[in-house]
Symmetry: C2
Subunit: 478 residues, 2 copies
C-alpha cells in the first residue's frame, strides 16, 4: 500500500446511478471527483433491478394490452417467446458489462477506482483493489456514500442452504423455473411474480399480510391482486414462511408455512425488504454504526458527523428507496457540495437548488404490473396522519373514453387528495393499464403546487386516458 493518498475534492463510494449523478454534478461544479466501485459501474439499477426487470415486464404488458383489443388479440393468445425476452433483457444489462457506463464517467472527467471502498477516518477512504492492493484516497471537501441496499433475507435457519433467489437472481435468471415461489408483497415481489408468470413459470406468491403494495392506496394492491390471480398466479395472503429446505443441490425447494401448509417450487425468491449496504464501509472509523441507515438533512449531509464532509444519497439514507429519487438526491447533493466547496450560497429553502425537498412531498413511483400502479405524494391515509385537512376524490377509470379505447374491459381507478387549506394537490394515484406515463402530470401538479382552480384550465387531449384529470376535477367541484 502506498500511504500517500490521492487527493480529490470529492470521493463518491458507489458508482450506481446515484453516485454517477452526484459525481457528475460535483464535477460540473468544477470539483475533481473520483468514484469507487466494487462491482459494476451502473449499479444495482442497471444490472439487477430497474433495467432488467422492466425488460422482462415490458413484453408481458404489451401482450396484455394486445389481448384487450379485438382485431389483434387472437394473434397474441400464445405464450411469450421467453428466450427472446431474456435475450432482450441481456441486451439491456449490456450482458452485465459496464464499458458503456465507464465511458460515460470518462466523458465527464470523473475518475474511477475499482475495489471495495471503506472510510478510514474523516475525509479518508481506503480502497481494497481487486488485485489485492489498496489505494488511499483523501477528500478536500466531501465523501459521499452511495452504496445503496442489498436484499434482506429473513432470519430463518438454513435459508442460505436453499440458495434462494433475491432480486438479483430474479432479474438475471437464464431461464424460467417451472415453479417459482415468491415471498413478499411489495414492488419487487409483484413485479417479478408478474414477469415470471408471463414468462412461463407457475408462480405462487406468499404474502405475510393481507394486501399487496401496502405503501400506496389500498385499491392499488387490490386491483393488482385480482389481475395476478386472473393471470394464473397462486396468490396467498396471510402466508408466513416458517421453514425452507431444498431437496439436494438442484432439487426442489420445500416451503413450510405457519399453520402447516407446504409448497414445493423449483426456486424461491425472497423479496421481503432491503438492508443498507453499509456493513463494511468503515462507518465505525467516523463514529457511525456499521450496517445502519445514514440519516441526512435535505442537502444529503449526514447528520452527527463533525465537519460536514460526509454525505449519503440514494437508498442508503432511507428517504425513498427508488432509483429516480436517489438520482435526484445525487443531483441535489452534488450541487450542494459544489456550492459549499466554492464558497457560494447554499440555497436550502424548500424547493431550493440544493435540497431534495421532493423527498418529503412528491416521490413518484410506477409499479410495472398489469394494471400499472402510478402514485405520487401522499396517500389519503398519509395525508390524514399528517393532520392535513383534505378531500379525497375517486374516479373509475373505466368510465373515461380514452381508457375504454385503450383496451376492452379496462379496469382502473384514480384518486386525488386535495389539501383544502391550500387548494392544491398533495397526492395522486392512478391504477390501470397504460397509466405509467400519466404520472408525471400529477408530479408536476404536486411539485408545482398548481392551484386546483388553475388545473381546471389544463385541458386533457381527447380521447386519452389523461381525461381522468377532467373527471377528477369535475367530481371535486361537484
Amino acid at each position: 500500500m502506498n500511504d500517500a493518498p490521492r487527493t480529490y475534492d470529492v470521493i463518491v463510494i458507489g458508482a450506481g446511478p446515484v453516485g454517477e449523478n452526484l459525481a457528475g454534478r460535483a464535477r460540473a461544479a468544477g470539483l475533481s471527483t473520483v468514484v469507487v466501485e466494487s462491482e459494476l459501474v451502473g449499479g444495482e439499477c442497471s444490472y439487477w433491478a430497474c433495467m432488467p426487470s422492466k425488460a422482462l415486464l415490458r413484453p408481458a404488458l404489451a401482450q396484455a394490452d394486445a389481448r384487450r383489443l379485438p382485431g389483434l388479440k387472437d394473434a397474441v393468445q400464445g405464450p411469450l417467446d421467453t428466450p427472446a425476452v431474456l435475450a432482450r433483457r441481456d441486451y439491456f444489462t449490456a450482458n452485465w458489462k459496464d464499458d458503456g457506463q465507464v465511458a460515460w464517467l470518462d466523458s465527464v472527467d470523473v475518475d474511477l477506482v475499482r475495489g471495495h471502498g471503506r472510510l478510514d477516518g474523516p475525509r479518508q477512504v481506503v480502497v481494497e483493489t481487486p488485485e489485492g492492493g489498496s489505494v488511499r484516497l483523501a477528500a478536500r471537501h466531501a465523501v459521499a456514500v452511495c452504496t445503496g441496499t442489498t436484499a434482506a433475507l429473513p432470519p430463518m435457519p438454513g435459508i442460505a442452504d436453499v440458495n434462494p433467489w433475491t432480486s438479483r437472481d430474479a432479474t438475471s435468471a437464464k431461464k424460467a423455473p417451472r415453479r417459482l415461489a415468491v415471498v413478499g408483497g411489495g414492488v419487487v415481489a409483484v413485479e417479478m411474480a408478474t414477469a415470471w408468470q408471463a414468462l412461463g413459470s407457475q408462480v405462487t406468491l406468499l404474502v405475510r399480510g393481507g394486501a399487496l403494495l401496502e405503501r400506496v392506496e389500498p385499491f392499488a394492491g387490490e386491483m393488482v391482486a385480482d389481475a395476478m390471480r386472473e393471470a394464473g398466479v397462486d396468490l396467498r395472503f396471510g402466508a408466513n414462511v416458517a421453514s425452507v429446505e431444498r431437496d439436494g443441490a438442484g432439487g426442489e425447494v420445500r416451503i413450510g408455512l405457519e399453520g402447516g401448509a407446504r409448497i414445493s417450487a423449483d426456486e424461491v425468491l425472497f423479496a421481503v425488504g432491503r438492508a443498507p449496504h453499509t456493513g463494511d464501509i468503515g462507518l465505525e472509523t467516523v463514529g457511525l454504526k456499521p450496517g445502519s441507515w445514514l440519516t441526512v438533512d435535505d442537502t444529503c449531509q449526514v447528520t452527527g458527523v463533525e465537519g460536514g464532509w460526509l454525505y449519503a444519497a440514494g437508498d442508503v439514507n432511507h428517504r425513498a428507496l427508488l432509483t429516480h429519487q436517489g438520482k435526484y438526491q445525487g443531483r441535489m447533493a452534488g450541487a450542494a457540495i459544489g456550492a459549499r466547496a466554492n464558497g457560494e450560497p447554499v440555497d436550502d429553502a424548500p424547493w431550493g437548488a440544493h435540497v431534495a425537498t421532493a423527498d418529503h412531498a412528491a416521490v413518484p413511483q410506477v409499479v410495472f404490473t398489469d394494471p400499472e400502479v402510478a402514485a405520487v405524494g401522499l396517500s389519503a391515509a398519509e395525508a390524514e396522519q399528517a393532520g392535513r385537512r383534505v378531500q379525497v376524490v375517486d374516479y373509475d377509470l373505466a368510465h373515461v373514453a380514452g381508457a375504454s379505447l385503450y383496451g376492452d374491459g379496462y379496469r382502473g381507478k384514480a384518486r386525488m387528495v386535495v389539501d383544502l387549506d391550500r387548494g392544491i394537490l398533495v397526492g395522486v394515484t392512478f391504477v390501470g393499464p397504460g397509466v405509467g406515463e400519466l404520472l408525471h402530470s400529477a408530479t408536476v401538479a404536486v411539485v408545482g403546487e398548481v392551484p386546483v382552480d388553475r388545473l381546471w384550465h389544463a385541458v386533457p387531449a381527447y380521447p386519452t386516458i389523461s381525461e381522468i384529470w377532467l373527471r377528477l376535477l369535475e367530481t371535486y367541484r361537484g
Copy 2:
C-alpha cells in the same frame, strides 16, 4: 307552427360534446336549458371523428408496439383482423345511435329538441322538426351556437359526382377499400391514412405542400412521414389534385395531379380543411354573415352582437378545432352565462373561472399516428413570431432508457420552448410511440406556469419515457 315560444334561460344549438358541456354547466348554474340537435346527440366527435378514428387506430398502434418487442413480435406479423376492428369501432359509435347521450341529457335535466335550429332575431330560435313542423324557442339569457364544422371540399368541377369520402366516410366505412387515396396533410389525413393502411388498404397520401402536420414542430411531420412510408403508404408531397372522376357508379376513382401524374383508387378521402357549420342557422337575422366563423371574446360571447346574449363555443368560433378544447370552452361559457344570469361577478381575468384563457396559451393535441405526436402551447416558430425571448431545447427520445425499453428501435424526439424572461415553459412537443399520455405533464407545466427551477424537483419515475423531462431540463441547464 305554434307561435307561442317555449322559453328557456339558455338555448344551445348543437348537441355535440361542446353543446353538452355548455348545457351541463348552464344547468348546473340553475338555468333552464334546452339543446337543439339536427342529427345525433353526441355530435361529430362521438360518431364520425374522435371516437371511431381512435377505435380504428388503437389496434394498429398496439400492433406496432408489439412488433417492436422481441418475444412478442413474431406473433403479430400478420395483418389485423379488420372486421373485428370495425366491429369494435361500431361499438364505440354505439352503432350510430344516441340513446346513451340522450339519457345523459335527461340525467342532468337538460331538454332536447330534435331538428334544425335557426336563429330568428335576438334570443329567438326556430327549430324545423323532423316531422315537418316547427318549434319556436326563446331565451331569457343566452343562445349558444355549438354547431361545429363540416368537411370542406375543394372547389373542383365534378367533385361531388365521384362521391368522395370525407372524414365521416373515413371513420364509418364498413370495409377497407383496396386502394384509398387521401388528399391532405393534416391530422385527419395522417390519422386516416395510418388507420386504413393498417386495416389493409393500399393508401396513397397526396399532400399539396412539402410537409405533414404543418401546425406543429416540423420534426413531428417528418417523423410521421418516415414511419408512414415504412408502413407502406405511398406518400407524395407537392401533389396538387387537378381533377377527379369516377369510372361509373362503383367504379374506380381517377385523380389527376398538376403536372400530369394520374392515380387510380377505389375511394378518395378529401381531408383538406373544415368549414364553419353556420351556413343555414339564421345568422343573417342577427346581423351576422351566414357561413362565417363566429368571433368571440374569452367568455365565448360573440362580438358585435348587441345585448351580449349570443355565444359560440367549439370549432365554430375558430379558436381551436379540437373536441377537448371546445368542451373546455363549453364549460367556461356555460359558467360565464350562469354568472351573468345570476348577477354574480364574472371572473374574466386571465385564467379566471369564466374565460377560456388556455385557448391562447395551452391548446394540447395528440395525433394518434405511429409515432404519436403530442404538443401543447407554442412551437418554436410561433414563440418567435410572438416576439418572445425563448430558448429551444431538443432531446432525442431514443436516448431515454424508458423509451428504449418501450420498444426496440425506438425513434422519437422532444422539444421544449422556454420563455427566458419568465423562466417558464410556453410550449412542449413529444413525438414517439407511447407519448400520448405524457402530454398532460407538459400541459400542467404550461398552464400552471411552473417555474423551470421548480420543474427540476419534479422527478420522473425510472425507467419511464417521462424521463425525457430530466433530459430536457439537464440540457437546458447546460
